[in-house]
Structure formats: structure tokens, C-alpha cells
């Protein structure tokens, strides 16, 4: 498992593009928003939690088709499937590697981008913690979507259609945490829900992902 994780991380860093691209995309989306809605600080600070969450969601989506597509094409996925490691474990590791290469940098960079959107100072901590708890769920759900569409030649667009509705609950609770944090309300409930979604998703979706992979490799 660790070997697979290290291999995926090394591939992501050395193959170029994948690692920094999501982060750059995140930056650009966040920068584009003030151009679209105007630079009034008040409006920006009100919509900042939602924008930051939606942008990180899109950035996570961007790199999803890289999770399985390359391995599927060169046959590495078939090797992984026949290795002693259960495919469920491989699915888990793939999601983890995706999170380390996209979710984690996003989480670390998001508070810095909060400055650009005039996010209220109280909310930085909640933005960081809600992203830290929520982005693993995004990676796992995305891995499931990638597994469903891995056999398709142009699965990228279809995958967005499949994955984005699945992101809705995480997005609602994540953005709600930051919004409540910004207004100084109690954030326990949405934060617990985000953590619950992540825990539940990691408990069940590796099995669904592995099932989808087995069907596609048949």
C-alpha cells in the first residue's frame, strides 16, 4: 500500500502538470470572481466562503481523470488489480494520493487566497479546518467517479456530470461552516457533518470504486 502511495505521489510530482495545475486553477478561479462581481469589499467578504469552497471543488475535479486513466492505458491498473493488495485498498490509496497532491495544497493555500476575497479574519481557521476535513471526501468521491468512467474514451465531461451532484452535501456543509465561522455563530453541527461525510465516504466508497474497477477491467 505504501509502495503504491509513494509511486503515485512520485508520478504526480515528476510527470509535471498534475501537482501545481490544480493549485494554479484554484488561484485563477478565485481571482476571476472579483472581476465578475466587482471589487466591493462587502460583497466579496460575504460570498468568499462559498467561492473558496466551489473553487477548491472545481480544482479537485480537474485532476480526477488522471487518477486511473494513465494506469488503465498502460496496463498498470490490471497489474494492481492482480496484485495481492485488495482492489479496495488500492482504491483507498489512489484517493489518498489524489488528496495529498490536490486537497492538501488547496487546504494550505486557501487561507492565503481568503485575503484576496476579503474573508473575515474569524473565518480563516474555519476555512482551513473545514477544507482539511472536507477535501478528502472530495477526493474519494472523485475516485469513485473516475473508476466509473475509466473505460470510456472521453469520460472527462461525463465524469463531471456524475461527480458534481455527489459533491453537493460536502459543499453545503463545508461552506456553511465557514459562513457561520465568519459570522461568529457556533459551527459544531456543519463541521461534524463534514467530518461524518468524509468518514462515511472512506468507509463505503472504496468498495464501490473497486466494484466499478472490476467491471471495467473485465
Amino acid at each position: 500500500m505504501i509502495a503504491l502511495l509513494l509511486r503515485d505521489l512520485r508520478l504526480a510530482v515528476r510527470a509535471g502538470g498534475g501537482f501545481g495545475l490544480g493549485l494554479a486553477f484554484f488561484l485563477i478561479v478565485v481571482v476571476l470572481v472579483p472581476f465578475g462581481v466587482g471589487p466591493e469589499a462587502e460583497i466579496l467578504s460575504r460570498i468568499a466562503p462559498g467561492i473558496l469552497w466551489v473553487a477548491s471543488l472545481l480544482a479537485a475535479l480537474l485532476s480526477l481523470d488522471r487518477i486511473f486513466a494513465l494506469d488503465y492505458e498502460d496496463g498498470a491498473l490490471a497489474l494492481i488489480a492482480t496484485s495481492p493488495l485488495p482492489l479496495e485498498g488500492a482504491a483507498f490509496v489512489k484517493a489518498l494520493a489524489h488528496w495529498i497532491t490536490t486537497g492538501l495544497p488547496l487546504t494550505l493555500a486557501a487561507p492565503a487566497l481568503g485575503f484576496l476575497l476579503n474573508l473575515k479574519p474569524d473565518a480563516y481557521w474555519f476555512l482551513f479546518i473545514s477544507l482539511a476535513l472536507g477535501t478528502p471526501a472530495l477526493s474519494m468521491i472523485g475516485t469513485f467517479g473516475a473508476a466509473l468512467t475509466v473505460g470510456l474514451r472521453r469520460g472527462g465531461l461525463l465524469m463531471s456530470l456524475l461527480v458534481l451532484p455527489l459533491y453537493v452535501p460536502t459543499l453545503i456543509f463545508g461552506a456553511e461552516t465557514v459562513r457561520r465561522g465568519a459570522e461568529g455563530l457556533t459551527t459544531t453541527t456543519p463541521l461534524v457533518m463534514v467530518a461524518g461525510i468524509t468518514a462515511g465516504v472512506f468507509a463505503f466508497l472504496p468498495f464501490a470504486t473497486a466494484a466499478a474497477l472490476r467491471i471495467n477491467l473485465r
Binding site: L148, T149, L161, P165, F173
Partner: protein, 242 residues
């Protein structure tokens, strides 16, 4: 004699052939009588005026939109567990019907909401969860359409249907969280204290029965079409080989 015998396509075809016209006629009778009764022979609501009458289309279609997904879930589970092709094809056949039901519910709701709430659309929990349900239907149908091999498509869409069901329920409760419900609560449930008056209730029941029968008729028809398409494809491959 067990229920599973009807999973045999031949048995299914011969069993549904005489049933389909009966269900279709019953659906038409129920729909026409329920809607005519509702539109012309019920008094107007004292607050809503004549707009209350859209409710005879809105409520049954919303009901069927959810139940169609539920039916697809059951059919997907049967396909994954027992591998009956008819079951997978029935799930495939139900999805577009479900899309149309969801659309009818959304559109009639918007038409009703414009004079009543003063807006075509509000980000209310119920409305939002229906929109999400609509997106799930779209994704499901798109996945069916994208995969060439029928068995792989059936497998993958079944997995998607099961995972999607969990997330649809989750979204339903997540949007509740906004806590700004504009949509009224259930007014047709059996145990609610405040229900609609009987005079609206009976035509609504007939209309609901009509929508259920219509759904069954459409799904049977579409499943039969899918089975015939499969047979044609099998015949074509056989002809090509010989």
C-alpha cells in the same frame, strides 16, 4: 411458480403483452377522470383561487419522480444480485420517465410559485433537492448512453444508482439545513393533523392512481422495446456471422 420466472425475457414478454393495454387504458381513465374532476368539479380555494388546481398534476408527478428512482434502485439491486437482464433493462427504461416526471414537478411548481410566492424559483430545500434529483437522473442516463457493452453499462449504472441514492438522501437532509422552507409540508399524508379537505383529496387520489398507472405502462412499454432491441441486435450479429 415464483416471481423470478418473469425475469425470463420470453415469459416477461408474454406476460406483459395482454397487461399493457389494460394498464394503459386504466391510466388514461384515471388521469382523465381525476384531472377533469379536479379542474372543473372542485371549488376554488379561498386563498389560492384557481391556481390550486395545478396541484392535481404537481403532487402526483413529484411523487412518481421519487418513486421512479426508488424503482430503479430496486431493479439495480436485483440486477447486481441475481443478474436478470429484464431487471437492468427496466431500470434503464424507467430513467427517462423519471426525468420527465421530475421536470413536470419542477415546471408546474414554478408556474404555481410565480403568482403564489411571487417568484419562479426559490432555493428552498424541497425545490433544491428536486433539482439535484434531476441532475442525478441526467448523470444516470448519460452513463447508460456512454458505454457500448450492455452488461458493463448495466453494472456501472447499477453501482451509480446505489451510490447516488445515498447521496440523494444526504443532499435532501443537507439542504434542509438552510432552514428557510418556503414549500409547504406534506398535505396528503395519512397521519398529518392538517390535511387537505376531502373534496380536493378524492380527485387528487384518482390523479395519483392515474400517474402510477401511467408510469407502469410507460416502463412496461419501454422495457419491451429494450428487449426487442436486444433481440434485433442478437439477430444481426448472428446474421453477420453466418
Amino acid at each position: 411458480m415464483s416471481l423470478w420466472e418473469y425475469a425470463n425475457p420470453k415469459k416477461f414478454m408474454s406476460f406483459t403483452a395482454p397487461i399493457l393495454p389494460v394498464v394503459t387504458v386504466a391510466a388514461l381513465v384515471c388521469l382523465v377522470s381525476g384531472l377533469v374532476w379536479g379542474f372543473f368539479f372542485t371549488p376554488e380555494d379561498y386563498r389560492q383561487g384557481s391556481t390550486v388546481k395545478i396541484f392535481y398534476i404537481h403532487v402526483p408527478s413529484a411523487l412518481m419522480a421519487i418513486n421512479a428512482w426508488f424503482m430503479m434502485l430496486v431493479a439495480s439491486l436485483i440486477w447486481l444480485i441475481r443478474r436478470h437482464h429484464v431487471s437492468a433493462l427496466a431500470a434503464k427504461a424507467a430513467a427517462p420517465v423519471g426525468i420527465v416526471m421530475t421536470l413536470i414537478a419542477l415546471v408546474t411548481g414554478a408556474i404555481w410559485g410565480q403568482p403564489m410566492w411571487g417568484t419562479w424559483w426559490a432555493w428552498d430545500p424541497r425545490l433544491t433537492s428536486f433539482l439535484i434529483l434531476f441532475l442525478f437522473y441526467l448523470g444516470y442516463v448519460a452513463l447508460w448512453a456512454a458505454i457500448d457493452d450492455p452488461d458493463t453499462a448495466a453494472d456501472l449504472t447499477s453501482v451509480l444508482c446505489i451510490v447516488g441514492s445515498v447521496f440523494a438522501v444526504l443532499s435532501r437532509y443537507a439542504v434542509n439545513f438552510w432552514n428557510q422552507g418556503l414549500h409547504q409540508g406534506a398535505s396528503l399524508s395519512m397521519d398529518a393533523e392538517e390535511n387537505v379537505a376531502d373534496i380536493f383529496w378524492y380527485p387528487a387520489l384518482v390523479a395519483i392512481a392515474g400517474f402510477v398507472l401511467l408510469f407502469i405502462a410507460l416502463v412496461l412499454l419501454r422495457t419491451r422495446t429494450e428487449i426487442r432491441l436486444r433481440r434485433i441486435r442478437a439477430l444481426e450479429t448472428r446474421a453477420r456471422r453466418s
